[in-house]
């Protein structure tokens, strides 16, 4: 006999309550005055013993009520068949649909074994079919109809998802909490070792669950895969582009594999590499011919192994022209432009061509060809130039203003349109400089960079811009990096300069990365990745306020979004491997590549000891030495679990009624005697 929810047995501690109440009632009799107690013996125990005995029945009944109440919640059960009672249980058939089940005949074997279990199921036993991929999906309700279960099993196919057995344990816990029946859970899977979670506790099963494992496929199946591809997501000069592909083998002998680079499904390059036994090897494709625009690129191998789905790795490269930026500075200040330009050229992917002009040369400059404009510590702008700049930003341009010592002399920041409250020269204070204390991690130009706390700021211009988004803030809460939306464009304000007099940022290593990110952000290139994994989500609505409709064109040529999703959904998980053409809510077009997780490529099964330990985690599974459970033979148990909570409920009802009768009789006796 055991308990399905033994925690509720703590409720038995409540029996102290009636015992205490009986003792309290015993000593709570109304005091009476008497002429003299001389003839009474002062032996309380002897004078009250009979009274306790008189109430034993009532006390025992009350204790029994509490014990039975706790038992009902704790759900007692016994093993074995109860006379006259049919064994009741829930049969859960979980079929692994992770990508590794594509290997060989694993999926077909799993379906066959599952159908065999359904065929052997007693007619009155309820069953439920569950597919176990990136999540556990119930394919049927809890039904007794074997045909419904079999039809659901026949419809199961392997997916590109990554499997995790922790999902099954979680499902078992959910089912156990929602049903009073014991659960017999059958798992049909290749028992892939990489499907086990890092923490074994995630596999722990509740006591009411009996786990029966049905391993399919070979325990060690050789498999090669394109494990990873390192390629730039954006390219403007293919001659400098290098694509590095890594080929890995799992349980494989040493072999020579042919690696092909496909650009837009056409063979661009091909190489042969020697892959050591169960090892890795890399191949480099240099200066591939990449056309302009979003390009579908793939690296694939001629593996000819059991799992073909991981022999190809898809990724996306965007080829574009370099963008042009305009750096405007005072005629007397040539150093800041030098700093900025040097930092841009030092960045790994120098995608920006920076033009430098003085503020006087800005009058006749055509701004239409620039992706962004930087105004470095401009003391003053003529109204005409400021109007031109403002209109350019409102039309979608992006500008960066730095407010150094010259700008601080003005009353307002041009274009940014914020009054200047004053300046703070920290070198005149005892502290000599200010440090950056707050970094908005979500702000793209500054958030992902480390080392901000080491930057010294000597001079800062304080502006009144309560509506602006603040990316960096000094220790005294003075905003250092602010951004405002102007029309459809954006204006970023650095409230200090780019020169060494106002900050030591140009001398620090972070400056290069900061300038690179700033230029990417201002030019609208952003940060994109070349490839995603199946299950990753893509952002279809970068700005949640956008009302436009999004669309997805899946690798199989279908549009998986329904109308509601297209109009409302913000992110969408990639369900399978391949290229997805996206139309975002802001009408931009994008292309993403999804690959199945390479954890699925290692087809090695988990060790039998591990699986036995998993089964034993519920204390209701097969004994650790049982081979039947591990080899997949349907487990025929000569004992089944019977929940006794219903009987405990009946006993509780009887005890309550009896207690009421006895208590009523006792009260009547008291009334008559008084």
């Amino acid at each position: 006999m055991g308990w399905l929810a033994p925690g509720f047995l703590l409720g038995t501690l409540a029996i102290a309550l009636p015992v205490w109440l009986h003792l309290l009632k015993r000593s709570a009799s109304q005091p009476r005055k008497f002429s003299s107690l001389m003839l009474f013996e002062p032996q309380r125990r002897s004078t009250t013993r009979r009274r306790r005995i008189d109430h034993w029945l009532l006390l025992l009944l009350r204790v029994a009520v509490l014990l039975l109440l706790a038992a009902v919640f704790a759900e007692p059960y016994v093993r074995g068949h109860l006379p006259g009672a049919a064994p009741a249980k829930l049969l859960v058939l979980a079929v692994d649909t992770s990508a590794s089940m594509r290997a060989g005949t694993r999926m077909a074997d799993a379906r066959r074994d599952a159908l065999a279990v359904v065929a052997a199921k007693p007619r009155d036993t309820q069953g439920q079919v569950v597919s176990l991929g990136s999540r556990a999906d119930s394919l049927t309700e809890q039904v007794q109809d074997a045909d419904v279960l079999a039809a659901a099993i026949r419809g199961i196919n392997a997916t590109d998802a990554r499997g995790s057995f922790a999902l099954l344990a979680s499902l078992a816990r959910t089912l156990a909490a929602g049903t009073h029946m014991p659960i017999e859970m059958h798992l049909f899977s290749d028992m892939q070792a990489t499907g086990l979670p890092p923490d074994f506790n995630e596999l722990r099963l509740p006591p009411a669950v009996t786990l029966v494992l049905h391993p399919v496929g070979e325990a060690h199946l050789p498999n090669w895969t394109v494990e990873s591809v390192a390629a730039p997501s954006q390219v403007w000069d293919p001659t400098k582009t290098r694509i590095v592909a890594t080929v890995a083998g799992f349980a494989t002998p040493a072999a020579t594999r042919t690696v092909s680079l496909l650009i837009n499904d056409r063979l661009a390059s091909q190489q042969s590499i020697k892959v050591p036994a169960s090892g890795r090897a890399s191949v480099v494709f240099a200066a591939p011919d990449i056309p302009y625009g979003l390009v579908r690129a793939s690296v694939q191998i001629d593996a000819a192994d059991a799992l073909a789905a991981d022999d190809r790795y898809d990724f996306v490269i965007q080829r574009s022209e370099r963008v042009h930026g305009l750096f405007v500075h005072q005629s007397s200040d040539a150093a800041t432009g030098l700093y900025f330009r040097s930092a841009l050229q030092s960045a790994a992917d120098a995608a920006v061509v920076l033009d430098e002009v003085t503020v006087d040369q800005l009058h006749n400059r055509d701004l239409s060809g620039y992706a962004f404009i930087i105004l470095s510590d401009i003391a003053a702008l003529s109204p005409a130039v400021e109007t031109r700049l403002t209109n350019w930003v409102r039309a979608g341009g992006r500008a960066l203003l730095s407010a150094g010592t010259a700008a601080a002399q003005q009353r307002r920041v041009p274009v940014f349109d914020a009054p200047i409250l004053g300046a703070h020269d920290y070198t005149r204070d005892d502290i000599r400089f200010a440090s950056i204390a707050t970094v908005d991690e979500a702000y793209a130009p500054a958030g992902a960079l480390a080392g901000w706390q080491g930057i010294k700021v000597f001079y800062v211009t304080r502006v009144d811009a309560p509506q602006a988004e603040v990316g960096l803030r000094l220790a005294d809460q003075t905003p250092l990096l602010l951004e405002k939306t102007l029309g459809t464009g954006r204006v970023v304000l650095l409230s200090t300069g780019f020169d060494r007099l106002t900050t030591d940022l140009p001398l620090q290593p972070q400056f290069v990365a900061f300038v690179d990110r700033l230029a990417s952000y201002l030019s609208g290139r952003g940060t994109r990745v070349s490839a995603l994994s199946v299950g990753d989500s893509v952002d279809l609505r970068p700005d949640p306020r956008l009302r436009g409709s999004a669309d997805v064109l899946a690798p199989d040529g279908t549009h998986p979004l329904d109308l509601r999703q297209a109009a409302q959904v913000r992110t969408w998980p990639l369900p399978a491997a391949g290229f997805y053409a996206l139309t975002l809510a802001d009408s931009r077009h994008d292309l993403v590549a999804a690959n199945l997780s390479r954890l699925e490529s290692d087809l090695t099964a988990a060790s039998p000891d591990t699986l036995k330990l998993w089964q034993a985690s519920s204390d209701r599974s097969a004994p650790a030495g049982s081979t039947a459970a591990v080899t997949g033979a349907p487990m025929v148990r000569d004992e089944s679990i019977h929940n006794l909570w219903w009987y405990a409920m009946w006993l509780l009802l009887v005890a309550v009624v009896t207690e009421s009768l006895v208590a009523s009789r006792y009260l009547n006796t008291q009334r008559e005697s008084s």
């Binding site: 008497f34 002429s35 107690l37």
Partner: protein, 295 residues
């Protein structure tokens, strides 16, 4: 007549003097049918005159008719003294019905005082005591003395503990004449101690009688289940069960009464148990028995 001696009936009468007159007159009316008792004014017998006899007692009517001188004799023609000792400790305030033990003792004492002063022309005194002598009325048979006795009885309220030694020792100095001493109490003390305290009162040939006044609830307590009892004198608490009270306690109270009766008789002291739900005639009868025995 019995109705007039019922304590419950007497309790409804407000004046203690009226209670005493009601009790004694009713009691005497009943006794006139008995030949065993006589009062000091009542004729007892004739005897032949002998030289030295008081000529005031010669029945001249008989002498005129028979020419012989006879002396007329009456009951109780020798005046006696009655001392009433009333226990007014806290335990005497106990009552399971309308009449407390102290009220019952008041009735008896008032009736005895009335009987002694009005009918027997005896000098009657009163001592009200608890742990000390709280009130003392010296014996006297003068006019108006009865009202003093009754007023003193009315002032007696149950309070303090009981102590027999100090009050009775105090009383010995006032007992100059031969007479009767009636001690009325519940006597919650060891019987040998009680008798040892009372025995010195028998000096000068006094007759001593103990009236143990108990409530019927004290003799036969009615306790359902367990009860917490509080001692009226000490305030001590004790939890008792129904079985104990109906068994062991009754044995002990009966033994206590029997011991006190035995010890008193062994010391030549009269003893009588009075229950507060019984008529008062037993106490008066006991008094007259002793009074008659003295004549």
């Amino acid at each position: 007549m019995q109705n007039l001696l019922d304590p419950a009936v007497l309790n409804a009468i407000s004046g203690l003097d009226l209670v005493a007159a009601t009790v004694v007159d009713g009691f005497v009316a009943g006794l006139h049918r008995s030949a065993d008792f006589g009062f000091s004014q009542e004729f007892a017998e004739y005897r032949a005159y002998a030289p030295g006899d008081d000529l005031r007692h010669v029945d001249w009517n008989v002498y005129a008719r028979s020419d012989r001188a006879y002396i007329k004799r009456f009951h109780g023609e020798t005046n006696s003294q009655l001392m009433l000792l009333v226990d007014a400790s806290s335990s005497m305030g106990f009552a399971s019905h309308a009449v407390s033990k102290l009220a019952y003792v008041r009735f008896i004492a008032a009736a005895l005082a009335y009987l002694a002063t009005r009918r027997q022309r005896d000098a009657t005194g009163l001592v009200v005591f608890g742990d000390t002598v709280r009130d003392f009325v010296p014996p006297s048979s003068r006019q108006g003395h009865l009202q003093r006795l009754l007023a003193s009885l009315m002032r007696a309220e149950p309070q303090a503990k009981t102590s027999y030694a100090a009050p009775l020792t105090h009383l010995q100095s006032f007992l100059r004449r031969r007479g009767m001493v009636v001690v009325m109490s519940d006597f919650y003390a060891p019987p040998p101690d009680i008798v040892r305290s009372v025995t010195p009162l028998r000096i000068h040939g006094n007759e001593v009688v103990l009236f143990q006044v108990l409530d019927p609830e004290e003799l036969r307590p009615n306790v359902a289940g367990s009860s917490m009892l509080i001692d009226l004198e000490t305030g001590a608490q004790l939890e008792v069960s129904e079985d104990y009270v109906q068994g062991r306690y009754r044995e002990r109270i009966e033994a206590h009464v029997a011991d006190l009766s035995r010890e008193a008789r062994r010391a030549g002291i009269g003893y009588h148990l009075l229950q507060t739900d019984q008529p008062l005639d037993q106490a008066l009868m006991q008094y007259l028995r002793l009074r008659t025995g003295r004549d």
